[in-house]
Symmetry: D2
Subunit: 338 residues, 4 copies
């Protein structure tokens, strides 16, 4: 079928390519003309303005918006919707906050435009591996888009079938799922990313413990400001962390794609030179923690993973100064320098 | 080559089977005579006493101890060692605390017996998938055992090779790794399990957030003792958690073996009937947290995962009573009943 | 000066009493007629309807709203405002979410009504100890109310002056502070309560560790499902927790009002009989955690304290079932019963 | 009565002074001759060697060891014990790990020497405020030392009596408590310090949230690497943090000595200039967390407080690099610079 794509960055570009490969036709638009030309050379129909984009789509139109930051998504959807007709469908494939989806879907519904939110996982590997799609929105619009989702998703062959699943594979086995009404797709994607934060932190913390397994061999101050190491003999291993991540990739309980990527990164640079350890976060981890808090369910691990990123960027600095200041007050302890 | 196995439970039994399949010979012993007979029927040489076991092994002997709990491992190793000769090797394949390995290896070294600690991951699936082996101990003993390790491990074909790895696969690519001197294997396995706890908790917390995405639809008290839900409309999803775990298995960033297992469990029982949610822990998670604390590195996520298991078993009860008692003292709040 | 009070529950009642004691005049209203009569008997002017309440106040009116739950505060403020004139002032002394203050203040400003948000700490002891007041709103309205705030606050004599503070005591030394524009008072009160959650949890967790210092004396399973206790001899203390909280009250670093209350509760009942350990939370802890997340600063301790309350009410149940289900999948572990 | 003191640093010196004030006689020894002379000038009997120290004590001797780091305490106790007779008593008043107490007490008991472990809280303020004493050891030795403990402790007048306590004040009301056998004093002191870490962190995190309440006013990147701030208008407060800590000192629920100290520190320097925020830890926090883990009780807050100190010293660096490396692998995200 035909799909229009607005936003030809890393993700949007690869979605178009995967659709073209599978025989769909695509109208592609981006403010960056070169991005449009590049995809046109690969078989897409290029559009040189939003008007042109809309004109080149067959009614009822299906337009996928794939732009990075939240604010731009909002304005792009608005400008696009102003040019669409009742019965047309907008898919937001970015990392939109699901609350914005709920609001937007209601607004667009008043004009008869259908809004589908599609959480899209797969990163830069999606072109080859396929994308995992978590979809929210009205039943009919989602059904119409199924050929697109089926082409983008990895397909049932990408993993062994779960024991007990037989016969015709369900959509979720192919790699896409209609999760519920407006926002449900991005809600599920949000929690997916929250879990991702937690799994990443679990691996990172564990590797740091391995990395510091030589603590007993390192010189250590012995003063009232330094916690003693009671048994240095228990911490006298110099471990090969890259090899350890590799060995875990086969047969262990922590087998995971994140582990595969970690092993690859550590093979490139065992000490991870070139990284300072200032870890960004892009919203979904925060929103997941907020959802847990508002629902009233504990999420210690996921939230700790978010806070660890804040701490990595030194956002706890004032709190830490308060702690040192208290210690000086009650114990006369001067702060140790590095 | 020939290997002796003491302990024919779930793990020991499958290790023997996998070795037999690959052409090794095995002498098998267990206090449970039926377990011995069953394996003898599959091609192992059964032993009916520890003396018999030792007698049936060719010198230099290689004996693998695979018994469940820590205390029994210690006494089994002691009794076995009393019957061995200099140059023989004991492999401890259980979940021994690496500190016990360090002590034991030193004791046995005085008698000329070599001690190899082998962290073994793979669970009940190891027979088919192969086991991931993390090995500590003296270089020569580990080298002699390589044919065994190579047969037990999944082999390089079990996963795509990490980009940049070429030529003859390294041992870690086959699924086993000599991590360092005595205790290093169990140290790495300990941290592996710590990571496993963290990844499990990340998944579990995330699924709980999805499970409670209908919080806004549930009836809710409105009193000074109940936190208000400001925007119930944001929590009005009834999500299909089993289907969500299935869709994530293909193409998502959280692809992992633990996710596969979770999807399988939720397919069997979407509400996980039959579980009360009292989660056991078997030591490695605790030891990993203690290692982080003693090394002086943060491990918020791994430790929170351990504590969540304690809380699931209501070990925080007295603390919780203290909180309710304080609230009553300063605010006159009576504790709400369930 | 004259103050009107709507809401004569625990807090509102005591505020009126403390004002009467200090020579102010009060008009008191509550839907519960008996509460009005009781305070009238103590010297307040009773009002039998909202109209009557407004009629009995001298212009420009100063009306304090002190009703428990968030929703009722909103409707009470609305109904009251409908009866007020430009230049009148409403004080919201409850635990309102500061975001509601910002919205309300803007709405009321359009009618010329001034809105003051006043976070009020002190609980049931406020009548005797005085209340700690954190105030937000327009400068002029706050200044007019200073005689009220000064009477309600404990006064500078309630604590030793901070070294370096001299001369005429600042308002914050008397126990009230104008923190900033609309919402600032409740924002500061919110974080105050967040800290309170954290301090309570610190005490509660510590006492639980003391309470379990006899872990090595308790019978313990020895199986693959139970983490071993390596050194039971280190956990063989039977400690007198009530006496310990008492000894800390004098000269220790953890001296605090919360400790005083804990010592009192434990003296009443050393095992805290009558509490089940289901700890309520009333919003401020959650909001504090959300503020930290949105600001992007780490708040591990405060958030853990909030989650511990959720866990105490078994809100982690589904997550815990997921964990047990995974353990069964990969290790064949059946869940242990209590 | 007579007490010998070894170690005349901040703590030891003030203990001697407080005893002299109360009419006790003290023999004082330190490797620093000047410290001895200074105290001699205040009325103590100076000793110029360990032999001289022991010679000047009347049998049965009571010698208090107050030296900073753990290792030195051990050797000092050993050298002292070598010079003592059966029936003499050694008090260890430092921050010794209670496990060392258990071992030491058993060793000394074989020589007939009694060992008392005394956790001592009060810091640099102890001379004026009195010290809070948590005591472990044999009943008879502790009873003999009561006049000393009673003089050092703040006395019942230092706080209001807990409601329900009447008549002759119990020792714990005076400020000292015999907690149990060897190690019990330091065990209780250890947990006290663990709680202290948690309370400090609660305050520090809360103040950081207040400090960042202007997040919505700060310039902010808008890109795929920066989490958006959905409602900047909710974070537009510039709060006076020093004044807020002051107002909480009277009438609020978070009244505490740590708050008093924080207010003092912020009055000296509102931005806490001179502190870099590298927070030391001196062992007790770690040991408390380890005790929780080994007992199997959750201590999320206390442990998070310990880890936050590690993070403040950048001990999470390798973990953070792993996170950035993963993000680059799966999303092509380059790490943002500060």
């Amino acid at each position: 079928m035909q799909l229009g794509m607005i936003g030809l960055g890393r993700m949007g570009r690869n979605i178009v390519r995967r659709l073209l490969r599978d025989g769909h036709t695509c109208v592609a638009y981006d403010v960056d003309r070169k991005a449009v030309e590049a995809l046109a050379a690969e078989g897409a129909t290029g559009a040189d303005s939003l008007d042109d984009f809309v004109a080149k789509l067959d009614a009822p139109r299906h337009a996928w918006v794939m732009v990075p930051a939240g604010e731009i998504t909002g304005s792009t959807v608005r400008e696009l919707a102003a040019r669409l007709d009742p019965g047309d469908t907008i898919v937001d494939g970015g990392n939109t906050y699901y609350r914005d989806d709920i609001r937007r879907a209601a607004e667009l519904a008043q004009k008869g435009i259908r809004y589908v939110d599609c959480g899209t996982s797969g990163g830069v590997f999606g072109l080859e591996r396929g994308f995992c799609l978590m979809v929210g929105g009205p039943e009919d619009a989602v059904r119409e888009l199924e050929p697109i989702f089926a082409s983008l998703a990895p397909g049932v062959g990408a993993a062994e079938r779960t024991p007990g699943r037989e016969g015709e594979p369900a959509p979720e086995e192919r790699g896409y799922l209609h999760c519920g009404p407006a926002g449900a797709g991005h809600f599920v994607k949000m929690v997916h990313n929250g879990i991702e934060y937690g799994m990443m932190a679990a691996l990172a913390e564990g590797l740091n413990i391995l990395h510091s397994a030589d603590a007993g061999l390192r010189p250590r101050d012995s003063d009232a400001e330094t916690a003693p190491l009671d048994h240095p003999e228990f911490y006298s291993y110099r471990l090969d962390v890259p090899a350890i991540t590799e060995v875990w990739r086969r047969g262990s309980v922590v087998e995971s794609w994140l582990l595969d990527l970690t092993a690859a990164a550590l093979l490139e640079s065992p000490q991870l030179d070139g990284f300072a350890g200032r870890v960004s976060d892009s919203g979904e981890g925060r929103w997941t923690a907020i959802a847990a808090i508002e629902e009233g369910v504990p999420a210690d691990v996921l939230t700790a993973a978010v806070y660890a990123r804040f701490s990595s960027r030194n956002e706890g600095e004032f709190a830490n100064k308060v702690l040192s200041a208290m210690r000086k007050q009650f114990g006369g302890h001067a702060e140790k320098t590095a």
